[in-house]
């Protein structure tokens, strides 16, 4: 089932890109092929392979990647989407409050999310990393590499 969803997703992607190629100019004086030529070849190949994948997933159902229930997956690995969402918030915050404090907040939040067994040692180590790493990186990049972080 997952393979079928993937194949259909690819077809949608191909359609979106193909539509874009329609707006590109054709071959001009110096070049025998236009900017749409190679992308169209690539898109046609992806489309053909998607069809093949779709057919394969139907004919060889036992070989295809199975799509376990999304709710089961989320129950088991709910930390993954939460961490991803946290990373998104972190990048958004970075533009507002700056790299250092956004990183401190992200690290503290992520440690709280991922650490399953707390001990005094882990708490101290994670607090030191959550504060030390962002400040250390900021110092390193700004003084040693002349790169100013947001």
């Amino acid at each position: 089932m997952a393979d079928r969803v993937f194949a259909v997703g690819l077809m949608v992607l191909v359609a979106a890109f193909w539509r874009e190629t329609a707006e590109l100019a054709g071959a001009s004086g110096g070049s025998p092929v236009g900017p749409a030529f190679v992308p169209r070849v690539v898109l046609a190949l992806i489309f053909g392979l998607s069809v093949l994948l779709l057919v394969q997933s139907v004919l060889q159902a036992e070989k295809a990647v199975r799509m376990t229930g999304i709710s089961d997956f989320l129950k088991l690995h709910w930390r993954v989407p939460v961490l991803l969402a946290g990373f998104g918030v972190y990048v958004a915050l970075m533009e507002g409050i700056g790299f250092t404090w956004a990183s401190v907040a992200f690290l503290l939040g992520s440690f709280a999310l991922l650490i399953r067994e707390y001990s005094r040692g882990i708490l101290i180590a994670s607090a030191v990393i959550a504060v030390g790493l962002p400040f250390g990186l900021e110092w390193l990049f700004e003084s040693a590499l002349n790169t100013f972080l947001p």
Binding site: L49, S103, L137, F141, T147
Partner: protein, 529 residues
């Protein structure tokens, strides 16, 4: 080979700052390799922004250090915990972990370190001898040959994607498609979807960080239930040097054979250290006359085969990267990216344009091998503790570092968003059983392929020139052959599986979509052997 260039390169590599770069690289590479789930490729990604402020040779030397250190570092976790630090050290477990359980962890580690160092140096010697020859050959390459070569590399990588030929090809083509976003070789803007940030195209590095590093980190979050603790043997380690030297001397033929296998496999794009590992182990086991039954139960030859081959891959992998501009694996792609950032394009003509730089690569591999020996020998007790770093602390810290690395490339937060987006894409692709190396190669080489095609057609609009020019024709024939080979292998694999499932009388389960399950069960098997 001009001696002057070698001496110039030696002067560059032995300069204190460059030497320090290599040693720091080796140290962090070993640490990255030691921590299960944190590969040295990730360490290379994190080191990438630091090379901006360096010259091309010290920058490349740092990366070579990480690469060599990382290839060797995987043996520590594999031997002590029975968990491979890197995918290329899986086979080390077969004999390394049983030796640890038999009370000989230091001997196992010593054999691994020794074999790894010798393998690295032998691989560098082969690179030194073969690289210039291939480099001279590539001087005759025109756009036809380059196009056909890139096409061959892409089909080879897709073909080596296990049983997933179709998904491998899709992955490679998606990489090529991503590479086409931005300005076309003909000068027009395309696939920008009205977003001004896409006008310059997608930088390969944030895409690569997302696809490879972030997706791997997310899988680590899933696997963080797997307990990596539980052995008390990591704290008291002292290498029994005379015993290790005797073991290595007894296995000298094995060291040489495994190193040559590793170097050869390294030259093949995407074949990688993992394949070299298994092939060498198989050969070593078959060549063992006295006690073949001890393989898998703690035979020194098993560790030697694994470590000599996975470390010698480095020398082989640099051959296509330097001479042809075709990175053999993701790590090579990152190093190639660092060179391009410094205005140096690897590929045909590099040996003539940058002889000192090319010689610096050989020498830095050898210096890094010596660094591996020194650092792993002296800091073994510390490195053994590093293997126990909890992923809960590691994953967020590395995510912050990937964000900084992506930002530092162009000083724009858009690149960090790219990391996030491609991290999610990479994660789902792994879940779907889509191999990522073809996509990365497509991304790196897609632009070159299109540019070569257009330039070739501008010179001569006859498409037949791609076939009638001998070298180009050979590459196209090889591309076709690799596809046919992969197809036949896929059909055979399907037939075998169907046969097996009909023999067992139970429906087959495909665990490829969930690497964590596969790995966890593998680890359980290994640890209970």
């Amino acid at each position: 080979m001009d001696l002057v260039h070698i001496l110039d390169a030696a002067g560059e590599i032995l300069a204190p700052m460059t030497l320090l770069s290599i040693m720091l690289g080796v140290f962090f590479g070993i640490i990255a390799g030691s921590i299960p789930g944190f590969t040295f490729t990730m360490a290379l990604v994190l080191a990438f922004p630091f090379t901006f402020a360096m010259g091309p040779i010290p920058g490349l030397a740092l990366m070579v250090g990480i690469y060599i250190g990382g290839l060797s570092g995987g043996l520590i976790a594999g031997t002590l915990l029975g968990i491979p630090g890197t995918p290329s050290s899986v086979v080390t477990i077969f004999d390394g972990y049983p030796m640890t359980k038999n009370g000989e962890p230091a001997r196992a580690l010593g054999i691994g370190i020794g074999a790894s160092v010798i393998g690295t140096i032998l691989g560098a010697i082969v690179l030194f001898l073969l690289g210039p020859l291939i480099g001279r050959l590539t001087l005759n390459f025109g756009p036809w040959e380059i196009f056909s070569l890139v096409l061959f590399a892409l089909t080879l990588v897709a073909g080596l994607s296990g049983d997933h030929l179709v998904k491998g090809l899709i992955s490679g083509l998606l990489g090529v498609l991503i590479a086409m976003i931005g300005v076309a070789p003909t000068g027009q803007l395309r696939f920008n979807f009205e977003n001004p940030q896409l006008h310059g195209g997608l930088d390969a590095i944030p895409v690569l960080i997302g696809l490879f590093a972030v997706s791997q980190l997310l899988i680590n979050v899933e696997e963080s239930r797997v307990d990596t603790r539980g052995t008390g043997s990591v704290h008291k380690i002292r290498l029994p040097v005379p015993r290790v030297l005797r073991d290595l001397w007894r296995e000298k033929v094995n060291v040489g054979r495994s190193s040559m296998i590793g170097t050869f496999v390294g030259t093949l794009p995407a074949a990688g250290a993992e394949s070299a590992n298994f092939i060498s182990y198989d050969r070593a086991q078959k060549a063992e006359k006295k006690e073949p039954e001890r393989y898998g139960k703690g035979h020194p030859g098993g560790i030697v085969a694994s470590e000599a081959s996975n470390s010698s891959v480095a020398g082989g992998a640099f051959i296509p990267t330097i001479s042809l501009g075709i990175p053999g694996d993701v790590a090579q792609a990152i190093m190639m990216g660092a060179l391009i950032l410094h205005g140096i394009a690897p590929g045909p003509g590099l040996f003539e344009r940058e002889p000192v730089l090319v010689n610096s690569v050989y020498l830095s591999i050898i210096v890094a091998a010596v660094g591996v020996l020194i650092i792993q020998t002296l800091l073994l007790p510390f490195l053994a503790r590093v293997t126990l770093v909890p992923k809960a602390v590691l994953v967020p810290s590395v995510l912050v570092m990937t964000a900084v690395g992506a930002f530092a490339l162009n000083n724009r937060t858009f690149d960090i968003w790219l990391v996030l987006v491609f991290g999610v894409i990479g994660y789902f692709l792994v879940k779907l059983g889509v191999p990522l190396p073809p996509m990365i190669l497509g991304l790196i080489l897609g632009g070159t392929m299109e540019q070569s095609l257009i330039r070739a057609l501008q010179i001569d609009d006859q498409v037949s020139a791609f076939i009638t020019r001998p070298i180009s024709g050979i590459f196209l024939a090889l591309a076709l052959a690799s596809l046919i080979f992969a197809l036949c292998r896929g059909i055979r694999g399907t037939q075998r599986r169907l046969q097996e499932s009909s023999d067992q009388g139970t429906p087959e389960q495909d665990d490829d979509a969930d690497g964590s399950e596969a790995e966890t069960s593998h680890l359980t098997d290994t640890r209970t052997t």
